[in-house]
Symmetry: C2
Subunit: 332 residues, 2 copies
């Protein structure tokens, strides 16, 4: 397996897991102060990474939740926000331009800010009421489970949260194994479709943000592969007409409440495209993880799977994932 | 000009305009009963057509507003909805499968339903508390201005609404003229780019739904042209890396609060792609419409402009906009 380091994967997982109590304390403080809205805002892949938590809050609780891209928020505002609201922002660099401006505006409005950054002492952290730096820790979603899951629990909506969080202790090892188990399929996928002229990516519910951001932030941004992403539901209202034997279609299936939408896409596309691939979290064992918690983990598991496409593609296509034409090379 | 009938355009506009009082009565009844949420839900292009009203309510009022694709709502619910909420649904056929199921679920929950349909006596109308059939009337957004604009006014947020609605009387004629004024540009666009292998479509704010649905429901569904649509804000977080001299990029600019995002895209792309087109509502006169109301009309004006691409493309490419591979031809 190319660029795979099982020990580093487990170590990076444990870096976050071992700070569980510190992170949960943020949730406790936020709950102690009360809130009238949990508001997720950031940019690009970072915003997409948080979006499933907006989804889970809507599906599994009555807590007020909303989300918006930071650049949009700067111009449109969000009319639900008040000085009793709490905003969640995340940025790997900690200095994403629109995200920082958004934090400044939120601070002015008196909205409390919880930030999760990839570096310490970032601009974003300096604007925050609560902050956590994950550094090499992965996956970032784990940080959000310790915050949002604990908020759900504190508010009476997720009584199993302590057991769920305990159960996550071994997930790092399981995710390393997922990478091993999917690698051959992902290597073949990268070899077969890396040079396709057009790639339709489809997902739903808590995996829609993954379909959206993997196609945009990895395939487009890092590998310059042309994509179209669409939700499983909306696929049937236009994009389906593009499907033909020769059109490359990729569907990601998870274990959340919208899985039936993905299955409908699978059943429709499978007889029509000769270049159709399904990546399904159900195909992968998560040793030690209780069956009833798998529905909360689709984005994390799918993230591990899809990472193996990129890692293989960069070697097979001789195209480093770090090359950019424009990002941080020109002003815009 | 191919397939252009100025008289029909004006007649179809007036069909809706002349029922202004009937439509506004829906708003008055909804307000008299009160509401705790205005909820927009439907499927595909119909949902996209309503989305700007969710945007305007957020930007210009403090009224609670939300939106969700019907198929998603069926599986995830919306935790803000109560039996005091009002839902808006629209469907040209009046029998879109997911939209009907959604209406049934809303009815069970005791949510009041306002529907806007393209035919009379539809399944959707039968499930509704209030309904309006626009038949050949266009644009459908006019119906929603008479409902949502009047609700804003009744709730104290849009004091100029009566003058705005009066001012719209002549918009049908102005929109016919927009079509005449843009036709040469749109014909050339269709001729130059109709066979491009990949088309990036970009828009923001109240025009994002237009970028999303025009590319999906016209270019993909009706003309089998491959697209990627992305918001002006999110373009800078991935898709920009695809841009090169040879990549076809189309930007739609409006006159709403997010215009600066579109201008940023324009300034970035113009030196990089030789196949870059901007369609800008500002380039078109709207005779008789007051300057201060243009910001509410970007989707309607852009709809008139883009319609001329499709009308020209279907002739130039000898591909009727009515042909489908799958829609209503197979079960899915």
């Amino acid at each position: 397996m190319v660029t795979f380091d099982e020990k580093a994967i487990i170590r990076n997982y444990e870096y976050i897991y071992n700070q569980r109590e510190t992170i949960e304390k943020i949730a406790d403080d936020v709950c102690a102060e009360g809130f009238d809205l949990l508001f997720f805002t950031s940019s690009g892949g970072s915003k997409a990474m948080m979006e499933p938590f907006n989804h889970y809050l809507n599906v599994y609780t009555k807590l007020p939740t909303d989300s918006m891209v930071s650049a949009d928020f700067l111009l449109t505002g969000c009319n639900r926000l008040t000085d009793k609201s709490v905003a969640f922002l995340t940025s790997k660099s900690g200095d994403t331009k629109e995200t920082i401006k958004c934090a400044e505006k939120l601070k002015e409005m008196g909205v409390r800010i919880v930030s999760v950054c990839g570096v310490e002492n970032s601009k974003l952290a300096a604007l925050s009421d609560y902050t956590f730096a994950y550094l090499d820790g992965r996956p970032q979603e784990l940080v959000f489970w310790f915050i949002i899951g604990k908020i759900m629990y504190n508010c009476g909506y997720f009584p199993d949260y302590p057991d769920f969080a305990d159960n996550l202790r071994g997930l790092g090892k399981a995710l390393a194994q997922v990478r091993i188990d999917c690698d051959e399929k992902c290597r073949k996928y990268a070899a077969d479709y890396g040079y396709e002229p057009y790639n339709i990516w489809i997902g739903s519910g808590d995996l829609w943000p993954t379909a959206y951001s993997y196609s945009m932030c990895v395939l487009e941004e890092s590998l310059w592969i042309r994509t179209k992403s669409v939700t499983s539901a909306e696929f049937f209202h236009g994009t389906l007409e593009l499907v033909d034997k020769d059109v490359c279609v990729t569907l990601i299936l998870g274990e959340g409440v919208t899985r039936s939408q993905d299955e409908r896409v699978r059943d429709f596309v499978k007889g029509l495209s000769d270049k159709f691939t399904c990546f399904d979290t159900k195909d992968y064992r998560l040793e030690g993880i209780k069956e009833e918690y798998r529905k909360y983990l689709s984005p994390i598991v799918m993230g591990a799977i899809l990472q193996r496409i990129g890692k293989n593609a960069e070697v097979l296509m001789d195209h480093s994932l770090e090359i950019r034409r424009y990002y941080r090379k020109s002003e815009y």
